[in-house]
Amino acid sequence: MTNNQYFDLLMWARTTGFDIALTIMVGGILLRVIEIVVLGRKKDFAKAKGSPVTQGIKTIFSRSVPRKGTMKEAPVTYIGGYIFHIGFFVAFLFLGAHIALIKDLIGLSWPDFNKAVIETAVALAIVAAAALAYTRFTDPVRRRLTGWSDWFVLIVSVLPLITGYIAVNKVFGVDGTLWMAIHILSAELLMVSFPFTKLMHAVTFAMARYYNGSIQGRKGAES
């Protein structure tokens, strides 16, 4: 046998496994969003001073930048947070193999980044995640807030980065089959847990920011 015993596992992860994960992720996200939206929101009878809708939409974007002076209050959380998110999305969206997968799924594609850029992004994201984990241990506020679900989310977010690096660079031997399978399975774990954990923030942050902006916007207050 030229190939190995892990080939079937890899094939399952790439086909059936992926389909199951994608279905759970997309279906789960839809359910979770519906479950929020159906709770509704009472009509606001107070005469608006500002423009709730415009400011709500604006806040979806503007809240990506820390308010003046707040960065220095929690530098590890802010900087670590930025680097982790950017690193993760660079690796996810600009690796050639990922672009091919996305093209396969939705028909859209774009140019890829070279390996050095991707690997730098991955390395930085992993370091950032470690820094964020460190503050969850050491900082009293973060330690107070952190529960098992926060650790779970942190771990499942970092696993695809680590396993992807190992698989692409064949860290543990020339045959990368097993590690490629593990990489894909780790991504599928991320996908499956997405709707049921705080990973949902990647979708609902836009709703939360919109609501915040529209509440403040109605009053003509900043947000």
Binding site: G28, L31, R32, E35, I36, V37, V38, L39, G40, R41, K42, D44, F45, A46, K47, K49, G50, T59, I60, R63, S64, P66, R67, K68, G69, T70, E73, A74, T77, Y78, G81, D139, P140, V141, R142, R144, L145, D150, P195, F196, K198, M200, H201, T204, F205, M207, A208, R209, Y210, Y211, N212, G213, I215, Q216, R218, K219, G220, A221, E222, S223
Partner: protein
């Protein structure tokens, strides 16, 4: 489960809506809200992390309004909210939060934590966990005309005094006027200056105005306690009075939560739009300024700074108006650090100042404001909220800084009116 616990949980359940669900779904426990909180900043105690103060509400949402939580509850796994939990959280929800709204401004995912504290207080008070001073004030105001009891006679006396001092006739309960002025009980208790100032300004601007003896008290303890029924009752007194007198605009006085109550929550508490406008006194003065009806002569030469009341600026949208007015009457106007939208609370808002149990904690929390005041070393602090006003006076005195005066912006504008 006791009846009061059940009532509390039902009241809390009623508060969970799409924004709340989106907020809890989005929270990643980053802890940045703590950095914006005066109680955390001045004590370093992680218990005071704003989102942690909402843990019970989050638990209810998770157990009853999420897919996984409902599945867990079916299996009897979700952690229930007990009366002991409510007792433990009472001090977090009432003593260590002035609902100042800074956390809402910094949350990276955009959670309106302050709004959720307001909602959580509905559950706390319904389950019998409201601070006794707020409950007492709610009872006195419901039975009388203000949280201090019946202030009608005191009001009439102040009106008479103001009339005498200014030589301007002030007619209460006068129908078909442009403006109906509300007052906070602090303003009535402390003297006739506010009424006299408004009388002078209205005369100068050429507008008719009145005070209703049936709805003059602007403060609304229902908002601070978290009791919609009390709050709605107090709001409807003003609405009824304004409709009866057919006024065009109701003026919310220099009081932060009163403005929040009558301007932003009021229409929702009574479930309909008002047939009149509501404006904060400083909005009215700024409008007069823009229309050229408010002209002044001379300026105060002292070193003056301005304190932004959270409910008026950050949560009320009035930021530039007082500064335009300050510049008309202040020669040496100097802003503190973070002035404006991100100003730090006076430490007494949201019912904290009335809650004796919170006194020591409040005194600690004031230190951030104290340092900012010390840094600009003003002769006086000008503000536009009667409660911030008296809190600042009390805390400055406790810190032996009472050589710094506290002034009302409305009264200051009246003082410099040109004749």
């Amino acid at each position: 489960m006791t009846a009061t616990l059940e009532r509390g949980l039902n009241a809390l359940r009623e508060q969970i809506d799409a924004p709340v669900a989106s907020f809890f779904t989005s929270c990643v426990s980053c802890g940045i809200c703590a950095e914006a909180c005066l109680f955390y900043k001045e004590t370093g105690d992680p218990e005071y992390t704003p989102i942690h103060k909402l843990e019970l509400m989050r638990r209810m949402w998770s157990n009853e309004y999420t897919l996984l939580g409902r599945a867990k509850s079916l299996l009897g796994l979700g952690k229930k909210i007990t009366d002991d939990d409510l007792t433990r959280w009472e001090t977090l929800v009432y003593d260590s939060c002035t609902m100042c709204g800074r956390c809402t401004m910094v949350c990276p995912v955009g959670n309106d934590i302050t709004m959720m504290i307001r909602k959580m207080r509905e559950g706390m008070s319904a389950s019998g966990h409201g601070p006794k001073e707020l409950v007492g004030a709610a009872e006195r105001h419901t039975d009388g005309t203000s949280p201090m009891g019946d202030l009608t006679q005191a009001l009439l006396k102040r009106v008479e005094q103001a009339s005498k001092v200014t030589g301007i006739e002030i007619e209460v309960d006068k129908p078909n006027v442009d403006y109906m002025l509300m007052l906070s009980s602090h303003e009535i208790a402390s003297g006739e200056e506010m009424i006299a100032s408004v009388a002078k300004i209205m005369k100068k601007a050429g507008h008719s105005w009145t005070i209703s003896t049936e709805g003059f008290e602007a403060t609304n303890v229902g908002i601070q306690l978290g009791n919609r029924d009390v709050a709605a009752n107090l709001v409807s007194r003003i609405v009824d009075a304004a409709i009866k007198l057919k006024v065009k605009t109701v003026i919310s006085p220099e009081c932060g939560h009163a403005f929040q109550a009558i301007r932003w929550e009021g229409p929702n508490l009574i479930g309909k739009e008002y047939p009149f406008e509501v404006k904060h006194i400083i909005e009215v003065l700024d409008q007069f300024r823009a229309e050229g009806k408010l002209t002044t002569n001379g300026k105060n030469g002292d070193r003056l700074t301005f304190h932004d009341p959270c409910q008026v600026n950050r949560r009320g949208g009035i930021n530039k108006e007082p500064r335009r007015l300050m510049n008309m009457v202040a020669e040496n106007f100097i802003e503190t650090e973070d002035a404006g939208t991100m100003n730090w609370c006076c430490s007494g808002g949201g019912g904290v100042g009335a809650n004796q149990r919170a006194n020591d904690l409040q005194a600690k929390a004031f230190n951030i404001k104290k340092r900012q005041i010390e840094a600009v070393a003003p002769d006086a602090i000008v503000t536009m909220c009667a409660f911030c006003h008296s809190t600042l006076e009390d805390q400055l005195e406790a810190n032996e800084m009472d050589d710094i005066e506290v002034l009302s912006l409305t009264e200051m504008m009246a003082e410099y009116l040109d004749d």
